[in-house]
């Protein structure tokens, strides 16, 4: 843990140790994820990146408490995860706003579940909506919002209960490129303000580098951690940084790691010899050091 992260809030420490998850099929158990150990330090922004089907969402769902590990442990601040709770807020790719609730009703939901009465819920929700620029739409139903607005509501809703960790499952995957960049900016702004731990799943390399302190890169089935990459870019991050040599070096490195895994995930039989030179264990080092 660096001194910078140590100075942040002392809660929201996620630790996944020797995690494995397998599904039972007629042909026996199939391992989706195996031997995965990751951690998110309090206040840290960590991304998991990998090809589709590598089990990164499975891992996130286990941290959320939706899936029980077949092996290994998932703990938050030392407490084992037993099931979903408001301690771990989640944002889904499909927005998943309650269509029968207004924007404010959605944001108030978590507070209502905490037993807060209407008079205290309303100002809290309005404050958060104001931060996200959504106050003019508080009485709209989600159906009338654009994708970007829906996802902003999704993030605000997840933050409203004051969770220790925010889990995001490809939250911007369904948005157009321009909206996505703006949403990334909004998310980093909110994260810096709230000093909350974030575990972010994506398949977008630029997104992972731009947002994160650290990036875990996963292999194809069965999913394992292939590399852990520190992102030493300074904060606050600007869009212009995406053109810097440092960013581009990270991008190039991650790209080659991902491409190889994507090929494997697509079923391309590539000889082991051809891959040997690429499968470098980067644990603990920055990719920039290697390249």
């Amino acid at each position: 843990m660096t001194t910078a992260t140590a100075a942040r809030a002392s809660q929201g420490f996620v630790e996944v140790k020797d995690f494995a998850l397998s599904y039972d099929t007629l042909d026996g158990a199939v391992e989706a994820v195996t031997g995965v150990s990751i951690r998110v330090d309090p206040g840290e922004f960590v991304s998991i990146i990998g090809p589709s089907g590598c089990g990164k969402s499975t891992l996130l769902n286990a941290v959320a408490g939706f899936l029980k590990p077949t092996r290994g442990t998932v703990t938050v601040d030392g407490e084992p995860v037993e099931g979903p709770s408001a301690d771990r807020g989640m944002v889904f790719q499909q927005y998943s706003l309650f269509p029968w609730k207004t924007v404010r009703g959605n944001v108030e939901f978590g507070l209502k579940m905490k037993g807060k009465d209407r008079s205290s819920r309303e100002p809290a929700a309005r404050t958060l909506l104001g931060l996200a620029g959504l106050l003019p739409f508080e009485n709209h139903y989600p159906e009338r919002l654009s994708g970007g607005m829906k996802q902003r509501v999704g993030i605000v809703r997840a933050l409203a209960t004051g969770p220790k960790v925010l889990l995001l499952d490809e939250p911007f995957g369904a948005l157009d490129a321009q909206t996505r960049v703006i949403m990334q900016q909004i998310l980093t702004n909110m994260w810096q303000r709230l000093k909350i731990s974030v575990l972010f799943v994506t398949h977008d390399i630029d997104e992972a580098i731009f947002l994160s302190d650290r990036v875990y890169c996963m292999t194809a089935r069965p999913g394992t951690i292939k590399a852990e990459i520190m992102v030493p870019l300074e904060r606050p991050r600007e869009q212009a940084m995406m053109m810097s040599t440092e960013f581009l070096a990270l991008r190039r490195g991650l790209m080659s790691l991902i491409r190889e895994e994507s090929l494997k995930a697509m079923g391309g039989e590539i000889g082991d010899g051809a891959l040997e030179g690429l499968s470098i264990d980067l644990h603990g080092q920055t990719l920039a050091d290697v390249i």
Binding site: A64, G65, F66, G83, P84, S85, A86, R88, G89, M90, F92, Q94, S96, L97, F98, P99, W100, K101, F109, G110, M113, K114, Y141, P142, E143, R157, A158, T161
Partner: protein, 299 residues
């Protein structure tokens, strides 16, 4: 300069009708910018006005055909000889309109529909919700409901007369049965269509079982529940009229059947039209209620 500005304002304010109307897009451009509010309203609601106009025309044609067929006593295999003309039915309406007996027939039918349908809704909706949530309940209740469901309510008439001490109760029971199964099945279907991601989202926000049921499963199933209520209301009328014709002493179905026995032919058509209007009205009432209860739905 000024007229040009006004034109720009005009085209911004009204993009929708220009795009959807069948008039060529260039046509509205030379229109004077100071069109009256009425003209704008007409342009915006052109589709609805058109449907209304065509609908009125179609009903008029139907009445005209009815009139011509009956007045000329057409008999081409299908015999219109004894069928009352629209004028006769209208005369019959004005006659029975002042008659308390006719109104009490209508009142009794409405009462039976209301009680039978309300009971069905009160039993079938919660049962469907519980069956949707708890597998064991579903596994126990579903086979029985599947066996009973294909039996038309009308086939229950003799059994119903045996089961219930009064005629009134047995007719209400038939009405109840008619609407029960559509409501139950649609509620069940609604429960099976609940988006699991929404359930997860609720769990992540700290919702427990009871709250998930109340805040996610129930509102998410509401559109399907209302489909069930609308269908159920239709079947309730079918069942009620059949039951009244067979075993009733009062009610609009009995009135219609009695008119045939008493050779009051205009009253047959009057009874039929009355049933149609009541069915239409009750369906509209349920749709209206649905829109009130589900303000998030489209329109």
């Amino acid at each position: 300069m000024e007229p040009a500005l006004k034109l720009v304002h005009y085209s911004v304010a009204q993009p929708a009708p220009d795009a959807s109307s069948d008039a060529p897009p260039a046509k509205p451009m030379p229109a004077p910018p100071d069109r009256s509010k009425l003209a704008r309203w007409v342009a915006l609601n052109r589709g609805r006005l058109r449907a209304l106009l065509v609908g009125a025309l179609s009903l008029t044609l139907f009445l005209l055909a009815w009139h011509l067929l009956t007045v000329n006593r057409v008999s081409l295999h299908v015999r219109f000889v004894n069928v009352p003309s629209p004028a006769l039915v209208l005369a019959s309406l004005t006659k029975v309109g002042q008659d308390a007996k006719f109104l009490s027939h209508v009142y009794l039918s409405c009462r039976r529909i209301f009680i039978g349908f309300a009971l069905a809704a009160v039993v079938a909706v919660p049962l469907g919700l519980i069956m949707g949530r708890f597998r064991l309940v579903r596994e126990i209740v579903f086979p029985v409901s599947e066996v009973l469901r294909p039996i038309p309510a009308i086939a229950w008439v003799p059994m119903s007369i045996m089961l219930w001490p009064t005629n009134e109760e047995s007719i209400i029971f038939i009405t109840f049965l008619g609407s029960f199964f559509p409501i139950l099945l649609n509620t069940l279907h609604g429960m099976s269509m609940v988006d699991p991601v929404l359930v997860r989202a609720a769990q992540c926000l700290g919702a427990r079982e009871a709250a998930i049921f109340r805040e996610v499963y129930f509102p998410s199933s509401l559109p399907h529940i209302f489909t069930g209520l609308t269908v159920g209301m239709g079947v309730a009328w079918v069942s009620l009229i059949a039951a009244e014709m067979i075993s009733g002493q009062y009610g609009i179905g009995y009135f219609t059947w009695e008119a045939y026995s008493l050779v009051q032919y205009p009253d047959i058509a009057l009874g039929m039209i009355c049933i149609g209007v009541l069915g239409l009205g009750s369906s509209a009432a349920i749709r209206g209620l649905g829109r009130m209860v589900m303000p998030w739905g489209r329109k």
